[in-house]
Structure formats: structure tokens, C-alpha cells
Amino acid sequence: MTPLTSLDRPNSYIGRSVPRPNAKRLLAGRGRYVTDIRLPRMLHAAFLRSPYAHARIARVDVDAARALAGVHLVATGADLAKICTPWTGTLDHFKGMTSEPQLPLPLDRVVWAGQAVLAVVAESRAIAEDALELISVDYEELPAIVDLDAAREPGTPRVNPAGSSNICFRAQLDSGGVDEAFASAAHIIEEEFSFGRHTPVTLEPRAIVADYDPDGGMLTVHHATQTPYQFQDLYSRHYRIPEARVRVIAPDIGGSFGLKLHVYHEDMAVVGLSILLGRPVKFVADRLESFVSDIHARDHHVRARMAIDADGRILAMDVHDATAIGAFSTYPRTSVVEGNQVIRLIGAPYDFKSYRAALEVVFQNKVQTSQYRAVGHPIACAVTERMVDLAAARIGLDPFAIRAKNVIPDDAYPTASPTGYRFESLSHQVCLQRLREIMDYDALRAEQSELRQRGIHRGIGIATFVEITNPSPAFYGVGGARISSQDGATISLTPSGEVRCAISVTEQGQGTEAIISQIVADQLGLAQEHVKVITGDTEVTPHGGATWACRGAGIGGETALQAARKLKANILEIAALVLQEQPAALNIIDGEVVNAATRQPRLAIAEIARIAYFRSDTLPPGTQAQLTVSHHFAPQGYPFAFTNGIQGCYVEVDADTGFIKLLKHFVVEDCGRIINPMLVDEQVRGGVVQGLGAALFEECRYGETGQLLNGSLADYLVPMAMEMPDIVIAHVETPTADTALGAKGCGEAGTAAASACVLNAVNDALAPFCASINAVPITPARVLEALGRF
């Protein structure tokens, strides 16, 4: 018999794989997404989109569209500008950053192909689209700046004629000692990398129903978003409606990955259209619109140099990252966070002192880029890990050996990266060792060399990473953004003795509600099915940051934990009065108040609820039972809870076709306290798959005039099950001491290193050909080109 563990304690849900309560409902098709919402008198919006990447709007003729039966409104940029104040996607802590003010629809100039120009509101979406065909717009084409390098060249026409250049933001980091380190290095590795633009592609596209009631002056927005409170604030301020009269409801969400926390022009417009009409207006982006109007991400060119000594110790790194973000910086989180994280995360797993980095963020005539799952991490990781592999190859070290030599030792914490990130406690050495075991690395190497004799080219790649989770106000708050880093929960004992927890973190399919109910049930001493979790409605839950940057478990979870402890204390206080005991002598197990020492049941908490709610006359005079409590929690201590891990993969390259087969993928991950192992594994797997998509398939390809060439699911390749390898996962648990729960984030870890790992593996496979690739996605064309096959 295996010995008892803490999981054998009654109601111990923290650390247990329990299914998500909402999974069956969603599987059975009972989900209620924004698309499913049909309100009385609801109208439908459609947008006319710019065919040009850059043009002046010379003349607009909407008469025929207005005259079409079933059309209620054709709105121009000027119509909406009358009621909506402009927004600017800059933050104060990004010194010197610029971006043009934005409006829901442009007044006189379009800046990317696919930008919404005019809105039509009609009885049905089909009628609205009929009306779009009746609109004529005369455009005067302006020079389109498409390519990242072209945008940076002096003398290039400007994306925003009012600006002084195409530079949005520049940043520099320098720890000192870099030139000296390079001067004394035994070897210097240099490489250039390019990372394609890609886009999140959620199953559920962006969707919004705005419902303005002019009589009550009340705006209700049903919005497929991660961050209802952020949007409550924005709709309130930009449409000048008092905050308390704006309600944002995020019902079931079909995936978000960062996509659904940015302000989109169409979404802002829909709110304005509802205000202009006094009727509910719905807009659901179709897949073609999603490709040209959802945020994109990545699109970086990185030059990197690494200095190593004769033994393969990293001495210094010097990098330059240039990234193009579209014509605007996204609001309210900006489009420079990715580049900022790239230059700060490069080299982060390794123990070296001298680091210098420059970042250049430029405008171009494309749709804007912004935060998407694992913001910046995949780029930083790919650059670092490829450089480490190149260094290993230079001096004939094995990839495991060079990493073992250079990772920050597990006993060196607390410590900081040369870029100033503070690490509480990471576990690179243990993870490295674990990965070697689960990969059966030596056997893989033996198989690889045996197969090479037979002309089969397999490659092994590994990639170490750190991930930023649990962000404090240092992330956005300090820059002036009204984006909360705290969360709030209101938790009640119902009259029947069940528990209801309304919490500001949100659910997009990852299982937030499941882990919150696990934590509450665990802390209170209840069966999980007696805890109902409510999320996603600003009218119902306290204000909070919601779900992004891997904060749901670490911050939301701690909020729920503390709230549940408070409620438990209040329940036991009443129980003690009823039972004439000291509260400390009592506990709750399985919904029963028990003797803390003997676990003897004394009284059901349902009985306490009954007495408190219906027979308060039987309680001692002066007793006021507090069976609803609220609690807020903001992270303190470390500004971020860093996690770490390492991935490995095994691939086969067909040297004649350039096709790559993913044979197996491995992850060792340390996200601190694991609340639900099954959900963590699925987060890691999903994240890895998105990273593998970036590695091999996904790229927004543009033509010379700035047209997106592959903006459909037939042409933009997302990873699909048939091409995905088995993903083997192992865990190391190093809880953060900053919270009682000890949880850090895990949602972006998979994405952070998967593409780096594949890049290394493919290069390992190509090594016998003396060919190398330093660009993702690694397409057959790039492989064949590297091999000189055509």
C-alpha cells in the first residue's frame, strides 16, 4: 500500500486532478457564447474594410447603402468621433514612446489593408453586407511601408505623416563590462534571427453585443474578453458614461491567449453604434476579418553576439532586437511589451554578468501587434538557446553539458538576471536532470547516429526557459494604465450551506473556475460540487485584473484562498457560539463542523446557515453573523513570480522535401504549487502546440503592397492534431513563498520554449549537411533553401 499523503485528507483538492465543472456543459453544446446572445430589437453591424495598406479617404458615397431596406445606420469616422474620445497606446514607463491617437473609425486616412473604414448597422448581418457592396469610397493611395527593415531606413516615407519618424520606441540595457568580456573571450558566436508574424486564431472569434439604454443611461456590453473590468473602465471613460452605469459581461469564451484583452476599433465602434441607435448591436468578426483585424504578434529581427570562455562558460551577450508593430501601438497595454520582454528575457536562465541590449520598435502599414501567449518569451528563448547550441558546437560540448555548466545553480537563490529581473527560487539544474531522464537522452543520441548511417536525419533539441507570471503593478500600473494587478472575491455561505464565490479572475476555457472551486472547497472543508464560482460580470464580482500574464492561479487563487479562510473563521465563530466552544477547537470537514482534535462531527454548516439567516433570534444578543466576506489580494514581495523549465524535442527532417516530422516532445516545468495537475498538463500541452505552430506552420505573409496573402484558415496553417507529437510532461514544484498558496503561472510555459526547441532540433538534424536555419517558421522552402536543393 502506498503511504497516505496530504491528498488523502478529506476535501483536499489542492494538488488533485479533478475534472472542470464546466467541461461537460461546454462539450454538450450548452455553452453560452456572445454569438449565442439574441436580445430583443438587436441589430447587426458589418464593416467596410480598406483594400489599401495606406491611403487617403478622398470621398465617401453611402447614399445607396443608407437607402437599402433593413439598414438602420451607416456611420463614418466623424459620426463616432462626436461621441467617443480618442485613445493613445502609450504608457509612461516606456520613456519616449509615441503613437498616434486612435478613433473607432478613421477620419481621413487608412493605415493598413483590412482596417475598418465605415460601419453599417442593419436588421441582419447579411443585409448589412449587402449594404457594404453599395458603398463607394475613393481612395488616394499613399506609399505603404510594409517591411520591418524598410520602415527603419532613414528617408523612408512615414507611416504617420504627423510623426517625426517611424520609430515608436527605443530602449537600451547595459549591465557594463560587455566590451571587456568580448575582448577577453575565447570564442564569439554571432547570429541573426528572424521571427515571422503570427496571430492567435482562437476557436471563438472576437464577438460583442453592446446594448445602450438611453432612458437609464446604462450601457451593457456582452463581450468576449479576458478583462471585463478593463473594458468597463474604457467604455466609461471614452464614452463618458459613469462607471457604475457600465456593465461588461464576459460569458463563455472560446479561447483568448491575449487576443481578447486589447481595444479593437470595431468593438469600440459597436458601443458607439448602440449609443447612436439606442438599440443592441452585435458584431462577430468572421474568420477573414479576424486575420486582418485581430492583433498579430512576434515579427522580430534579432542580431545576437555571445562571448564564451575556452571551457564554454558564457561571459556576455550583446543583442539588438528590431520589431515592427503595425501603424499604431495597441491600447491600453501598448505594442512594445513584447520587445521589452525579449531584451529582458534573453539569457535569463544563465549565470553571467555582462549584458547589453538595444530595442527598436517601428511602425509599418500592417495591423497592430500586441500581447499574445508567452509575450516575447519564444523569441528570447529561441535566440538564447540557439546561441547556446552554437556555442556548444563551437567548442564540442554536448547541449546538456553546456547548459549544466551555465544555468544559474539551484542553490544560488535569491538572485537576479543581468537585466534586473529578480528570481526568488528556480530549479534549472533539477529540471535539466529530469529532462535527460524522461527523454532517455543517451538512447536517443544512439538511435540518431545509427539512423544517420541509413540516410534518416533526426535531430534532438533542448531549450531552457524562464516565464514571467503573477505580475505586480510594476507591469502596467506604474505606466499609468488602469489595469489592476489585484483581484477581489466575494464569498458567501448560502442558506442551504453551500458556497458561492464571485471572483474577478475570468475563464476562457483554461479551467480558472475549476481551480477556484478547488481552492475554496479545500480551504473551507467542503465537497467541490458545493462550491459555485461566478466570474466575468462587472455587476457581480469585485474589481480585479482578471486573467492574463499567467496570474489566474497565483493571484486569483490566493485571493480565493484568503477569502475562504476568512469565511471559515466567520462560520466557526457562529458555530462556537451555538456549540458553546472556542472557535479554535472546531474545524470544518465535508460541510460539517467537527471537533478539531477528534474530528467528531458536531453540526452541519447548513444548520449554521439556517440559524444565521432565519433564526438569528436564537443567537446571543449582539451577534451579527457575517456569512458573506470580500477579500482583495495584490501581489507583494517579488514584482513577478518567475517560473522555469526545460523542453526537449525529437524531429525528423526529410532532406529531399524539406518536410519536418515532430516525433516527440518533452517538458519539465516548475510552476510552484500545482493546484490541478491535469489542468496544468493541458495548459502546458496547449501551449506547446501553439509554440509548435509558430515553429513550423504559422506566418502572416504579406505582399509588397501590404496585402495579407494568407488570411484564411485554408492558407494560414494552424497546428492540427495529426501533425502533433506526443508531449511528455514532468513537474518540479518550487512554491513561491510570497503567498500562502505558493502557486505561480503555467499557461505560457509551453509556448515559451517549444519553437526554440524545434529550431535547435532541426539544426541538429541538418548538422551533417553543414546547413543551418535561424528563422521561424521553419517551412519546407526554408529547409530546402538551406540545403541548396532548388
Partner: protein
């Protein structure tokens, strides 16, 4: 996007369908499985005034033997290529190609007649018509006629069936025991349209290739026979030398167009690799 409004007419006979089309001219479209047409409507790439549903025309269904031919009704679904015993026995190349056509949900609805009539150069079945030396039966105002696949595919989405004419059946010469087939394609993901694909059917005698038909798809405006490559491997045993000759001959058989993702030289290279692999496999079973 949502399709523009259209009206709908269900036809029960071939004549009814032809008449309905004739009376609506350019504004009408036949709808079979809808797996190409419906997306085109939803994207407003096509906006016919009327759809004429041919799914209820009994005569367009069924797979039967007619002497030396296998008659495959135009409405035969892609999935039936995988399950119909007569196809496995008498047209195994179609069976070999079918798993590569899209995904199960699409194969459940998509029809062979629709695929051949549409003549997408990236599609598997139209090219297999060439490899099989099949004949396409067309019904039009002047009655029925059968057109050899070699004469059927004219240009991009243009075939010997004029607008308003109906493809009623495909006739495939029945497969004989001295014939061999091979099929494969290079697609980024399972079910995608291929970067390049190829099917072939050879007639063998004593290990020699008596005759062979090699058809490529995704290489240009129309499904394309590789006649020089066919000549290079005919009349002898398949060996490394003949394979190399056939691969070299592809230069004159194929002229892939410019494309942003797959440059012509790369597509030609992939076609050569694929041809080499398929001929190698064929050589093992000849």
C-alpha cells in the same frame, strides 16, 4: 460573411435540372455536395440568383459495372470511394487517393462529379481521371456525350462541360490484374491541398512497364499528365536510371506557376522527388 440571398430549386431529373439552369442563364449554379460552392457563396465570391439542387436526381447515384467500364454516378460521395467494394476492385486508384481529399466531414458530402466538374487543379480526383484514362459523361441541351479526361480539362476551372451542362457520371476502364497503381502527395498537414501530388497507373508484363499514365496535381492551371516522364519509364523495367530519366523529363512536362509560398523551382523539385519515390514503389510491385 454571409451569402447574398438566393433562391433554391430542387431537381428530380437531369432534364429538370438542365431546364432550370437554362431558364436562369448565368445566374444559376448546380449544387452537389456544396463543399466548394457553399464556401464560395459565404465569401461572396459567387452570388448566383438560384441554386439548383441535384442531390435528389436518382440517376446520378450509384456505382455499377457496365461491361469493361465502371460507371460512377456523379453524386457518389468522396467517402464512398473508401467504402464501395466495386471501387476498391475496379478503380483502386480512386480509393488510394480518397484519404487525402480533405477531412471526413467534407468527404461525407463532397461528390466525385462536383470535384471533376469544378476541376480545381489542386484536387486529387480530377488528376486521377487522367491517370485512369476515364471518360466523363456530360448531359447538355443537345443530349449526352462522353469526353475523355485528356480532353476534358481545358484551363483553370474550365472544362469540356459548358456552364449549364451537367456531369452525370464518370466511366473508368475496369482495373485489370496486370495493372499497378501508386499515389502520394506532399501536403503540409493531413487533409490540406497538396504542394504537389501524383497518381499513376501502369500496365505491366513480366516485370516490364508496358504502358503508364502519370498525372500530377497542384502543378499548374489544370491537372497535368507527365507524358515525357511516362515515355521515359515505358517499355522497360523500372530502375534507378529510368527513374532519373523520368525525373529529368518532368522539366518539359510541368511548368509550375509563380506563388508566394512555393517558388516554381521548388515545386518542380518536389514533383521530381515525389515522382522518384512513387516510381520506386511501383518498381517493387511491377
Amino acid at each position: 460573411m454571409k451569402a447574398r440571398a438566393f433562391s433554391y430549386r430542387r431537381a428530380y431529373t437531369v432534364d429538370e435540372a438542365l431546364d432550370a439552369h437554362a431558364s436562369n442563364g448565368d445566374d444559376a449554379r448546380f449544387i452537389a455536395g456544396g463543399q466548394s460552392l457553399v464556401p464560395a457563396l459565404a465569401l461572396r465570391l459567387q452570388a448566383p440568383r438560384i441554386l439548383i439542387d441535384i442531390n435528389h436526381i436518382e440517376e446520378l447515384r450509384g456505382v455499377t459495372r457496365e461491361g469493361e467500364w465502371l460507371r460512377i454516378g456523379a453524386l457518389t460521395r468522396h467517402c464512398e470511394m473508401l467504402t464501395e467494394p466495386l471501387i476498391a476492385e475496379f478503380a483502386p486508384l480512386l480509393r488510394a487517393a480518397a484519404p487525402f481529399v480533405a477531412h471526413p466531414a467534407i468527404r461525407n458530402r463532397g461528390t466525385l462529379g462536383g470535384s471533376v466538374a469544378l476541376a480545381d487543379p489542386a484536387s486529387e480526383f480530377p488528376a486521377m481521371m487522367l491517370a485512369l484514362d476515364a471518360e466523363i459523361e456530360i448531359a447538355g441541351a443537345s443530349g449526352r456525350r462522353r469526353v475523355r479526361a485528356d480532353e476534358f480539362f481545358i484551363d483553370l476551372f474550365e472544362t469540356a462541360a459548358a456552364p449549364g451542362e451537367l456531369v452525370t457520371a464518370i466511366f473508368v476502364p475496369r482495373f485489370r490484374c496486370n495493372q499497378r497503381i501508386c499515389f502520394d502527395e506532399l501536403a503540409r498537414r493531413r487533409g490540406d491541398y497538396a504542394l504537389v501530388g501524383c497518381g499513376m497507373q501502369a500496365t505491366c508484363k513480366d516485370g516490364l512497364i508496358e504502358g503508364i499514365r502519370i498525372a500530377f496535381f497542384s502543378v499548374g492551371n489544370v491537372p497535368t499528365r507527365a507524358r515525357s516522364a511516362e515515355a521515359a519509364v515505358s517499355g522497360g523495367r523500372i530502375d534507378a536510371e529510368r527513374i532519373a530519366a523520368a525525373q529529368a523529363a518532368l522539366d518539359s512536362d510541368l511548368a509550375p506557376p509563380e506563388s508566394d509560398e512555393v517558388p516554381p523551382a521548388m515545386r518542380l523539385h518536389l514533383a521530381r522527388v515525389l515522382l522518384g519515390r512513387l516510381l520506386g514503389r511501383l518498381g517493387e510491385v511491377a
